[in-house]
């Protein structure tokens, strides 16, 4: 008897020993856990900011890279010709000034005098010429090579494969030397860079602020295909210097003493990137004082908001993405505009953002997100109204819900998305009486599907490359990047966008884009649902992070006004 009861209690004790800390340390009893001491500074050091970037970038070569995690490295190490101010207007970066000719075709950049790379070697207009030529060179074949097609003079001709769709063999057979000589990027002298365009393109200044024009050095690039893999080769003119890169583990940045651009002077001595891919582990690291800032997922938000310490450490940031449901206008029933409009009215965006995202980010009724040029807070044509939705549906050629074909909700499969789209399906049922079928598809196969055979109803997003309405609205032109996925084509819309893209008068241009955006919302080939963004956690000893001083460009980097941040534990 004694043995038996002992046996049982031993098992119970063991079980408790294993499971209780799980509960206690994860928000069940925050006050009791040692991590919740408000003044916990962990192992923080003055002047050192430790953040989690989640994973190792695959390639940080400025002329090849294309993902956010990669661009982040490039923007730390390099300073392009231009950068953005806090209102997202392009301002001179490595350039001291820029002059645009009256016809809007010639841009003359003056490089800041006595500019150097972080290792002290001089930075001249020649370095920029090399970088912009490397971008256009067909041998580079970077993923963003097609971005400046048709904008810079001679670019399309030289970069024939990326811009004209020629094969590599055909491109190599061209007279490449002549094409290079005709290319519109020239260093007039050490401090002057001249770029000629084919047609006026007011958004070119924003483009000149992108990572694609980062001034890599020929000598570094010559060290091999993966020259960028070694910190000692990754030498730039940006606010920080990559001093150590322990691949898959951490990257250490030190302030660049030679930086003379508008983002400086940098207050921090050091920034440490960690590559923790599991969000729960990063959350523990933050609570344990091993990280100074942390992005929170919607899943963690409830825990943070109800925690007396963590809720004091929330800082809100704006995002740069808009998410939407796409209706394939080539597939029934969405060939009918009224059906699309009805679905747009039947979706409760407020509830979506509240229930699923804990009110992180914001609801979206139009394309361009808040804080970006072209954002229109009043463009709200499809407020949530199930009755109106049913009425709109009755006006459609289908007449009523019963006559609609099966509605299949296709999305990128993951545990998280399963829960989200279960919610969406429940909404459609409540609001319109539609029994939607859930259709999860492997993420990569899903992306391929949206390009080759777009599903009937699917979910996608778009994140800014650069802050200009052209980067948003123009993508919905006939056969554009986004319109081709939903089969949208409206000649009137196309005409407006074409006019806006080259319009030099800023006010008129904004007006044209506004008209186009409204047309897009009315035609409803897609219906916008929400913008990302939301709270991040910042330790109280990290100074200089505040909602007021956040620049959107910082958010793209994953930072919040990094140059003004300081750590004083």
């Amino acid at each position: 008897m004694f043995v038996r009861s002992l046996r049982r209690s031993a098992a119970v004790v063991l079980m408790l020993a294993l499971v209780v800390p799980l509960l206690a340390a994860c928000g069940g009893a925050p006050a009791a856990s040692p991590t919740a001491v408000p003044t916990d500074t962990g192992s923080a050091e003055p002047g050192v900011l430790r953040i989690n970037v989640g994973s190792e970038p695959d390639n940080v070569d400025p002329q090849l890279a294309s993902f956010v995690g990669e661009i982040q490295y490039i923007m730390m190490a390099y300073q392009g010709l231009m950068t953005f101010d806090q209102d997202m207007n392009p301002i001179p970066g490595a350039a001291e000034s820029v002059e645009v000719s009256d016809d809007g075709l010639t841009y003359t950049f003056k490089i800041r005098p006595d500019s150097t790379y972080s290792d002290g070697t001089p930075l001249t207009a020649k370095n920029f010429e090399y970088a912009w030529k490397r971008l256009a060179n067909p041998k580079t074949a970077g993923q963003y090579q097609s971005l400046p097609c048709g904008i810079i003079k001679g670019y399309s001709e030289w970069s024939a494969a990326a811009c004209q769709g020629l094969s590599m063999t055909e491109t190599m057979a061209l007279d490449l030397a002549t094409l290079e000589a005709d290319y519109g990027v020239k260093a007039i002298d050490d401090s002057t860079l001249e770029i000629e365009l084919t047609a006026p393109a007011p958004y070119f200044l924003s483009m000149a602020a992108l990572w694609i024009g980062a001034p890599v050095r020929e000598a570094d690039v010559a060290k091999g295909d993966d020259w960028w893999y070694d910190a000692e080769n990754y030498i730039g003119n940006g606010p920080f210097v990559l001093s150590e890169w322990d691949h898959g583990n951490k990257a250490v940045w030190e302030a660049n003493p030679n930086y003379n651009g508008p983002l400086g002077p940098v207050k921090l001595k050091k920034v440490e990137y960690f590559m923790i891919s599991e969000g729960q582990v990063a959350f523990q690291a933050y609570q344990n004082g091993e990280l100074d800032m942390l992005g929170i997922s919607p899943e963690d938000l409830a825990a943070v908001e109800t925690d007396p310490v963590l809720s004091q450490e929330i800082v809100n940031v704006t995002g740069s993405c808009t998410f939407y449901f796409g209706f394939n206008t080539k597939k029934a029933p969405f060939e009918d505009t009224k059906v699309r409009q009805a679905f747009a009215q039947a979706f409760d965006r407020e509830a979506w953002n509240r229930d699923i995202f804990g009110n992180m980010g914001s609801v979206a009724y139009s394309f361009i997100p808040p804080g970006f040029p072209g954002y229109e807070p009043d463009l709200n044509l499809w407020p949530f109204d199930p009755e109106a939705a049913k009425a709109t549906l009755a006006e459609s050629s289908y007449g009523s819900v019963e006559n609609l074909p099966e509605i299949k909700l296709t999305y990128s499969a993951s545990a998280r998305n399963n829960a989200r789209f279960e919610w969406v399906a429940a909404q459609l049922k409540t609001n319109l009486g539609i029994e939607a079928v859930l259709d999860p598809v492997d993420p990569t196969a899903y992306t391929a599907l949206t390009k080759t055979d777009p599903p009937q109803l699917f979910n996608l997003g778009w994140c800014a490359d650069y802050p200009d309405p052209q980067n948003w609205i123009s993508l919905f032109q006939t056969d554009g990047l986004l319109s081709s996925r939903v089969g949208y084509s409206n000649p009137e819309f196309d005409a407006l966008v074409r006019q806006a893209d080259v319009e030099q008068d800023a006010a008129k241009r904004a007006e044209l884009y506004a008209q186009a955006q409204e047309m897009l919302v009315i035609d409803a080939p897609v219906t916008f649902t929400r913008n990302d963004g939301g709270p991040v956690l910042v330790k109280p000893y990290v100074q200089g992070v505040s909602e007021e001083t956040i620049t959107p460009i910082d958010y793209w980097l994953g930072f919040f006004n990094l140059a003004n941040v300081d750590v004083q534990p």
């Binding site: 970077g142 295909d225 196969a445």
Partner: protein
């Protein structure tokens, strides 16, 4: 024996070829390609995608792509414009990784030691071997003890401990260890500092080893029980045979057989990297990379991962088969 080993090694050649072809083929027919990642960002323009497809030889017929990967091909060098012989996997060239835009090769990603930093293979292999040692050194004695004390509290406790960890995913076991030892007790840091030669290895070794520990403990227990009941042991025990050591040795040797069998696949699996342990403890090993390669459709990385795994599996199984002979001399290889 030598002839047997040579024959076994020759057998590995078709195995490697078939695994290579099978994996490469399935990877290729899986919908979505290396340029279909991150649907919320700008996708490649069709023209750029065409260039890249050509660059990676994705437009060639399947057999040609496969022979280029596996054996060799004549490829135009983009720098000189001349056609050169380029070896494939048999020449130690496992191909470019698509995710690095072709800047880095699979062998560089997995095996290259650079700037004094160990390779990913080093991390995976060391962690795997440590976990295996942990599991064997702890598991066999625990199993023997459980068998000798069959149906006592000790037996049940060992059974409980060894099974409890198996019933949880490594993800949760690992996370629990972090919570208890790093967050609550502060013996370790949550963020691993891999410059330290010992500290960051301890928790992942335990987490990774715990699943195998359970398996080995229980297998040992059941084999020892089995052997314990064999007639000769019973006879010896009944006679009160003086030489207990003989019995012990005999018992253990026979009990080891199934344990040794499972060590083969276990070793191959542990050495080539394990996803969850790497994720929780931020081990810069191969497991994470190989699993990510699947969602990135990094064909050469996927195929190389399978080849490396089956290579180690073959080696481990060969060692196991040789060990059989040592444990039980009646099992012979002629």
């Amino acid at each position: 024996m030598t002839a047997y080993i040579i024959r076994r090694i020759l057998w590995q050649i078709p195995v490697l070829l078939i695994v290579g072809m099978m994996t490469f083929g399935i990877a290729k027919i899986t919908p979505g390609g290396p340029f279909d990642t991150d649907p919320d960002r700008r996708q490649l323009s069709p023209a750029v995608e065409k260039i890249l497809r050509q660059k990676f030889g994705m437009d060639l017929p399947f057999w040609r792509q496969f022979t280029r990967y596996m054996f060799f091909d004549f490829v135009e060098n983009p720098k000189t414009g001349e056609t050169e012989l380029q070896w494939g996997a048999i020449g130690g060239n496992f191909g470019p990784t698509y995710s690095s835009r072709g800047n880095r090769t699979v062998q560089q990603e997995l095996f290259e030691e650079r700037s004094g930093k160990p390779s990913r293979f080093y991390y995976s292999a060391r962690l795997g071997i440590q976990a295996l040692i942990f599991a064997v050194v702890l598991g066999i004695p625990m199993g023997v003890l459980a068998a000798l004390r069959q149906n006592t509290i000790i037996d049940y406790l060992i059974l409980f401990i060894s099974t409890f960890f198996v019933s949880l995913s490594t993800l949760i076991v690992g996370f629990l260890l972090v919570i208890v030892f790093a967050v609550n007790l502060n013996w370790f840091t949550v963020i691993a500092d891999w410059q330290d030669p010992i500290r960051p290895w301890i928790l992942p070794t335990i987490a990774l080893g715990s699943t195998s520990l359970g398996f080995i403990t229980r297998l040992t227990r059941s084999s020892v029980l089995e052997v314990k009941r064999q007639d000769y042991i019973r006879t010896a025990q009944a006679k009160g045979l003086a030489d207990q050591i003989v019995i012990w040795r005999h018992m253990l040797k026979n009990a080891l057989l199934p344990v040794v069998t499972v060590l083969g696949p276990l070793a191959a699996g542990l050495i080539t990297g394990t996803l969850y342990t790497e994720i929780i403890f931020q081990v810069p090993g191969m497991g994470n990379l190989l699993v990510e390669a699947i969602s990135k459709r990094d064909y050469s990385m996927i195929t190389s991962g399978a080849l490396i795994f089956v290579f180690f599996l073959g080696v481990a199984n060969l060692l196991v088969d040789i060990a059989y002979g040592a444990i039980d001399p009646r099992i012979s290889y002629k």
